[in-house]
């Protein structure tokens, strides 16, 4: 069994020179379970998650995963690392004009040549797996429907299926429930907890709903101003902590 922990050391990201959004983040995310990152908008939660799979280029620092420094990878090595990091997005980011099945199968693109992908020559085992995943997320009857015909919750299920198709060793989720209604949000969190639990992989999720995070996550990380200000068990998160993370207090019930 490979070491599935993620170690972030001194991570700094500056979009504008001298204006760091992340001001030296140190984090260890080990084993399994869901880790929630909470914090006000614009505090760098998304940037942090996107630095891990390099959708955003870190300015400095290390992101150690399975003995590699993700921050240093280039070209084919970076692609090989990315295919083991699943990602779920707030706006689902499906290819709208492709069918649900094709969208799920895009999770395998990192494992096949562009030519085979173009000819849609997916291995039968992949297609079988995609079908069983669609069963799991409750969309078996939608396989040949276009992604743009689905509702938000259904799209996010496809997004999760696509990420799981990668056989990821860590799952990142960037505000996966922020565009969804409360009931669907819970269902989506349950689905991620379920799938990640079965596969024994860690999940890192950015989330705005503190109650939802407390309910599903084994660990909470509070960020404000580009720094980690809270890190611990959800039960240890007090109103004082929340005040420090978000500022103000009138919003706390």
């Amino acid at each position: 069994m490979t070491d599935r922990s993620l170690k972030i050391r001194g991570l700094v990201k500056e979009y504008k020179r001298g204006v760091p959004v992340l001001k030296g983040i140190d984090l260890d995310i080990a084993g399994d379970g869901i880790t929630a990152i909470i914090g006000p908008s614009g505090t760098g939660k998304s940037t942090l998650i996107r630095c891990i799979n390099r959708l955003v280029e870190p300015t400095s620092g290390q992101i150690l995963f399975q003995g590699m420094d993700l921050a240093q990878l280039k070209g084919a090595e970076l692609r090989a690392a990315r295919r083991r990091i699943g990602m779920v997005f707030q706006e689902y980011n499906l290819v709208e004009r492709l069918t649900v099945m094709e969208n799920v199968l895009t999770g395998r693109l990192g494992y096949m040549t562009a030519f085979k992908a173009w000819l849609r020559k997916f291995p039968p085992s992949d297609i079988e797996e995609a079908y069983s995943l669609l069963d799991t997320v409750g969309l078996a009857n939608f396989a040949n429907q276009r992604a743009d015909s689905l509702s938000g919750g259904q799209r996010q299920r496809v997004g999760i299926a696509r990420a799981v198709m990668q056989h990821p060793e860590i799952l990142l989720a960037d505000e996966p429930t922020s565009s969804l209604d409360p009931k669907t949000s819970v269902e989506i969190m349950e689905l991620m907890a379920d799938l990640a639990g079965k596969r024994n992989i860690p999940v890192v999720v950015n989330i705005h709903n503190v109650e939802l995070a407390k309910r599903f996550c084994g660990r909470m990380i509070g960020m404000t101003g580009g720094k980690v200000v809270f890190d611990g068990d959800p039960s240890a998160l007090t109103d004082a902590n929340l005040k420090e993370i978000y500022g103000g207090e009138n919003w706390i019930e």
């Binding site: 895009t106 693109l109 992908a117 990668q166």
Partner: protein
């Protein structure tokens, strides 16, 4: 667009004045209209049209139509039909060739696909040079190289179309949603797969729409190319005109008219069905 900022507006709450344009904007607008009218007056004085030619225009037009009627319908079977087929071939082959050449250039021009400004500008230079030369001029160039005939016509159509197809295709690529592209990048897909599975599904409707529209234009353009000797129906018209056979010219004009309408109908039909 002048929105006074909130604090000053609050202070002179009594005397709030709203104007659609600032003083500078009004001045620029006035200057624009003034120059436009001045240019119209100057150009009217410059072209020196001769009124006498206008007075007998109705008679000339009448005479013209009298010479055209009755049409020499036998001329269609004799030389118009073959020329028409050649015109359609020139338009179709020229469009296909232009697509082959324009797609890579359009991709280079799209700054989200190729995030390297010098290459973008290079591609845009190719596209602009293709468009800035009229197809008749391209035809003259290719006639000089390959001699008169359909080959020169096809290449003229193709080279004129590169700019059009490439520019619109490149712009369609640039308008692609960023999200799905990001998702496929995050999956670890090779660049080529990101293109075929991320960009292509998004630009496919635009691509077919551009290709059909350009074919439609090229049918019309290739009808004229014969006038400079680049093959097709224009050559039949040129010959008839040089022999003052207006009854034959009328046949050619009617044929072109019918073909252009048919092309339009076909393109509209396909677009409705496919897109």
């Amino acid at each position: 667009m002048s929105t006074p900022d909130a604090t000053t507006a609050g202070m002179n709450a009594i005397n709030r004045e709203w104007r659609r344009f600032t003083f500078e904007q009004r001045f620029i607008r006035f200057a624009f209209y003034f120059i436009a009218v001045a240019a119209l007056v100057m150009s009217l004085r410059h072209i020196e049209f001769i009124p006498e030619f206008l007075y007998d225009a109705p008679a000339q037009v009448q005479d013209f139509f009298a010479r055209m009627w009755p049409m020499d319908t036998a001329y269609y079977g004799k030389s118009v039909h073959d020329a028409l087929i050649e015109t359609l071939n020139i338009a179709t082959l020229g469009t296909l060739l232009s697509i082959l050449l324009a797609v890579p250039v359009g991709m280079l021009a799209a700054n989200n696909l190729v995030p390297f400004a010098p290459l973008n500008y290079f591609a845009k230079l190719i596209l602009v040079s293709s468009r800035s030369v009229n197809s008749l001029v391209w035809a003259l160039l290719f006639i000089a190289v390959f001699g008169p005939g359909a080959l020169a016509g096809t290449l003229a159509i193709a080279f004129r179309s590169i700019g059009f197809v490439g520019k619109l295709f490149g712009e369609a690529l640039e308008e692609c949603q960023r999200g799905p592209i990001e998702a496929l990048t995050a999956v670890g897909a090779p660049k080529a797969s990101v293109f075929t599975k991320g960009y292509w599904p998004q630009v496919k409707p635009a691509f077919w729409s551009i290709a059909l529209f350009r074919w439609d234009i090229n049918v019309r353009e290739s009808a004229v190319l014969g006038l400079v000797g680049a093959g097709g129906i224009g050559m039949a018209m040129d010959t008839a005109q040089n022999l003052f056979r207006w009854d034959q010219v009328a046949v050619v004009l009617l044929t072109i008219f019918v073909v252009v309408i048919l092309a339009e109908l076909i393109v509209t039909y396909i677009r409705k069905k496919v897109l």
